[in-house]
């Protein structure tokens, strides 16, 4: 009797081990522990029209009302992506119906193709897993070949860099983040500027110890503003699908909230304390020191969030706010490397900088 008990116990152990092994090594949609209907979960009756597409994905990942009971098994409730896609700032996935083509190659080469984003542009349904949400994604087109994507920014560039159908107001992010630029946020590699005095720990210009962070990803800034919601840049309540607020307007009162996105990595006290640029605080808070309409302006007025093809320190003037100086110039000259000294030629808030030297 005791022998049989041992035998049964061993059998159960082996069984449970086998099930666990299957669960942890399989992509989510190939895992029968998660999808009790297997291939038939999406490809019902081998009608391929019923598989794939936004509606197919939302059968499990949509609103609770839309979900088909029993379609999946999960130890925790799946996130509701559908509600996310109705936020003000979003990838236009709900609007992509009938536009996405399974044969498209990105970056887009035809300027007439309507812009869109479908679930499968960023996720490969057969191979995606919670550990790697980009597993199995399509590659990027380089001439006649398709190269594998191994970095998140390469995935974003498929639509946000060299696309022929890039909207008029959109910029080519590959050019902005190029490591050949005088300055860039460290997405493609560590940055070139070694004197970013405002950096909060564990961020650092060059990584020396394993606990330090010297590179960031697109999704460090672009993503869900709701930490309890699904991760990723599906949508946000903030403009440009940013994870935190980033006011880019002129005549703005400085606050922790106004530039919350920047202050995730850059120490607000350091910036307002002028630890680098002598007049940082004055520019951001205005001359009256932070009251509304005091003339304070956004970080964005002088800095590009992505990179600058002209200047160090991510300097790039927002020409919606800044115009040329009385001598017709709009430029920045650095005086002494890393000495936080320079001069600006521009006009802003009616003040002529021709130049203003600091």
């Amino acid at each position: 009797m005791a022998k049989w008990n041992v035998l049964i116990a061993l059998s159960l152990m082996l069984l449970s081990h086998a099930v666990q092994a299957a669960s942890s090594s399989l992509p989510s949609h190939l895992d029968r522990q998660k999808l009790p209907y297997g291939c038939g979960s999406c490809h019902v009756g081998f009608d391929f029209r019923s598989g794939g597409g936004l509606d197919g994905c939302l059968t499990c990942h949509g609103s609770l009302q839309r979900r088909v009971k029993g379609s999946y098994r999960s130890s925790r409730e799946l996130k509701d992506i559908e509600s996310e896609l109705k936020k003000n700032y979003r990838h236009p996935i709900l609007e992509s119906k009938g536009i996405h083509s399974s044969k498209e190659r990105l970056p887009e080469t035809d300027a007439r193709t309507p812009r869109h984003a479908d679930c499968v542009d960023c996720h490969s349904p057969h191979q995606v897993s919670s550990e790697n949400r980009f597993a199995g994604i399509k590659g990027k087109q380089i001439g006649n070949i398709v190269a594998d994507i191994t970095k998140e920014y390469e995935l974003c560039y498929r639509c946000h860099s060299d696309s022929a159908n890039l909207p008029g107001l959109s910029t080519n992010k590959r050019i902005e983040f190029s490591t050949m630029n005088p300055s860039f946020h460290p997405v493609e590699s560590e940055g070139r500027n070694l004197t970013v005095v405002s950096l909060l720990k564990p961020y650092r210009e060059k990584r020396i110890s394993p606990s330090e962070i010297s590179t960031i990803t697109c999704s460090d800034c672009h993503g869900n503003d709701d930490p309890a919601g699904p991760r990723g840049p599906h949508s946000s309540s903030y403009q440009h699908i940013l994870r935190d607020n980033f006011s880019t307007r002129d005549n703005e009162s400085e606050s922790a909230f106004a530039y919350a996105l920047c202050y995730r990595c850059h120490n607000r006290s350091s910036i307002l304390g002028n630890e680098s640029f002598k007049y940082h605080s004055q520019h951001i808070r205005g001359k009256q020191g932070g009251t509304a309409s005091s003339g304070g302006t956004s970080c964005h007025t002088c800095h590009s969030s992505h990179g600058s093809t002209e200047y160090k320190y991510l300097l790039k003037f927002d020409t919606d706010v800044v115009s040329v100086s009385s001598s017709g110039m709009l430029k920045f000259n650095e005086k002494g490397m890393g000495a936080f000294r320079g001069e600006c030629y521009l006009t802003c808030h009616g003040v002529d900088h021709n130049p203003k030297t600091y």
Binding site: K3, V6, L7, L10, S11, L14, L15, A18, S25, L26, P27, L30, R32, P36, Y37, G38, C39, G40, H43, G45, F46, D47, F48, R49, S50, V68, K69, G70, S71, S101, S102, K103, H126, Q127, S129, E131, N132, F134, A135, G136, I137, K138, G139, I145, V146, D148, I149, T150, K151, E152
Partner: protein
Amino acid sequence: MNKFIRYAGVATLLWGIASTVSAAGPKISDLVTGGNKHNLSSLNKNITYQAQPPVAYGDEHNTEICIFCHTPHRAAPQTTLWNRSNPSVTFGRYSSSTLIIRRTSAAQFGEPNGSSRLCLSCHDGVTAGGVSLGAILNHQSINMGVNDRITGIALFDANKIKFGHHPVSFVYDNAVLNAIQADPEKATQNYRFPSIPQVKLDAGKRMQCTTCHNPHQNQSSEDTYLTPPNVGRKIAPFWVYGGAGNATSDHDAVCLDCHNIPTSSFPLQ
């Protein structure tokens, strides 16, 4: 320790046996419990498409099993002592623009042919200008009652074959496999020739309905999904493979035999 090894060995053996137990579906000849959908005999039970019971002399064909597809004499020339007219429908072919076989071997991939066309002689629902399922070659039509044409999910019309169904009747040979592997996006998906012995191409190396479906014997006993809470949802029947003893697993094993989707993830840094 020896004891432990012995117990572990026996346990592994039992686990192995338990995991390979399969339950095949009802045999075509099973008239007692019934349920094999390809047995259209009036004596079969629990099926939708079924001949009417004989009511007069000469109606006894209604009780036969094979006659709906096969005849021992004066068979149609197609194959396997065939007892049906060829489908007269133009079906077209699966039209997805991503289909490599569509581009690389278009000459070999057109209208369903071979055994698939024989399957369609019933499953198109309209063969030979609306002749019913009981329209065999070598006897007067068998009375099928109200369900004399296939409708619903088992019906494969031109629309379904063009837009929704897995392509059939394409040659799946080295040239085609190489062409698929040469496509930059498909190359990562590990397509391969079937390796499960039951999953077979036909003599012309074509993938046909019979590659995945055995018309005589469903190797899984279930025709619906078994997993709660949605027990009863229909699963396509007559899978050639029954190794897992569960319709969904068997179905997936057949799919994954060619669509060998890699389970290791791309490294994304």
